[in-house]
């Protein structure tokens, strides 16, 4: 009875999810649906940015939104007022979304005919960085009041995203926020990252952001 066997697994905990995420990306590619995973701390302005983005692009592409929240549907309700297709995902206490949950959300939303889906991830800078959702591209919002030292504290998040939006630029005079220092810190972690300062409230920078999305959506459909 006491014969123990050691079975070597040597597998990253994220391996199953990473594989699933790659599958989902292939499916989205075939459907010609560009999925953007939007991450940030709570309150950085994800929902406000989502609404601004819809306003800027709704006349040129079909947009859908996945709202992930631990347990509420306030954001989905807010976004639905724009007339966009939106679905609320409850993560049931989990602080992140994985590829499987994302797929379920997309199925609920129905991606056929959608060109662009925005996933508002759970407000958190740690776990979402570790779980690939299967998104085409990853974006992160850092807002001015959070401080310019965040790249030093959460290096993983800043190193995996394709684009960083620096939000609440309208409030920069009230905070000690060194934009150039952030850019420098972020580029050290991630040389290819695109940094766009915006104010989701006032609309500043939204044209550059919309331009980035246009180019990425086009690219996604061509490859």
């Amino acid at each position: 009875m006491n014969s123990f066997r050691v079975l070597e697994i040597k597998q990253s905990v994220f391996e199953d999810n990473d594989r699933d995420a790659d599958l989902l990306r292939d499916e989205l590619k075939k459907d010609k649906t560009f999925l953007l995973n939007l991450m940030s701390s709570p309150g950085s302005g994800k929902t406000t940015t989502v609404i601004r983005t819809i306003e800027a692009l709704k006349d040129e592409m079909k947009i859908g939104v996945l709202e992930a929240d631990i347990d509420s549907d306030v954001d989905a309700h807010t976004v639905s007022k724009t007339g966009t297709r939106v679905i609320q995902l409850h993560t049931g206490g989990m602080c992140h979304l994985d590829a499987d949950m994302t797929r379920q959300g997309l199925n609920g939303l129905g991606t056929s005919g959608l060109d662009f889906v925005i996933l508002e991830n759970v407000g958190n800078l740690v776990c979402p960085a570790e779980f690939d959702t299967g998104a085409s591209k990853n974006a992160m919002i850092l807002s001015v009041p959070e401080g310019d030292d965040k790249p030093l504290k959460y290096p993983l998040m800043f190193s995996i995203v394709d684009v960083l939006l620096i939000n609440k630029m309208d409030a920069i005079d009230y905070f000690d926020f060194d934009l150039e220092a952030v850019k420098e810190r972020v580029k050290k972690l991630n040389p290819n990252i695109k940094v766009i300062p915006i104010s989701a409230k006032k609309g500043e920078g939204m044209e550059e952001w919309a331009e980035w999305i246009r180019a990425e959506v086009k690219n996604w459909n061509q490859q």
Binding site: F4, R5, L7, I9, K10, D16
Partner: protein, 113 residues
């Protein structure tokens, strides 16, 4: 505490592995966690019993091995521990390095019985 969700992910992975390999009972699960991973071993241990409760791993013991967070200096190629040296090369004080290890979160092995 984000470890709970991740421990569920671990259990899912081990379950898959066990099924494929015809393992029905596991005595010990061995994880490897990098020093620079956002997973804190203490918290993993704390939420592990709750996570395995009611699963086939209910009586499986947990063992955690820590892997060092090492960098390779981009100037002088010294390999050094990032935590102990505060991210600065002990050879030439350079702060630019390439990450060699430390972000891992691996299921190393299981001891089946």
């Amino acid at each position: 505490m984000h470890e709970l969700g991740v421990v569920f992910e671990v259990i899912k992975n081990v379950e898959n592995f066990a099924k494929k390999n015809g393992v029905t009972k596991i005595d010990t699960l061995v994880l490897q966690i990098g020093e620079l991973s956002s997973m804190i071993p203490k918290y993993i241990e704390a939420c592990y019993p709750a996570a395995v409760d009611g699963t086939f791993m209910q009586y499986t013991k947990l063992k955690i091995e820590i892997l060092p967070g090492n960098g390779l200096c981009k100037k002088c190629s010294t390999v050094f521990n990032l935590m102990k040296n505060g991210g600065k090369c002990p050879g030439c004080r350079n702060e630019e390095w390439e990450l060699l290890s430390g972000k891992e979160f691996m299921i190393k092995e299981i001891i089946a019985c």
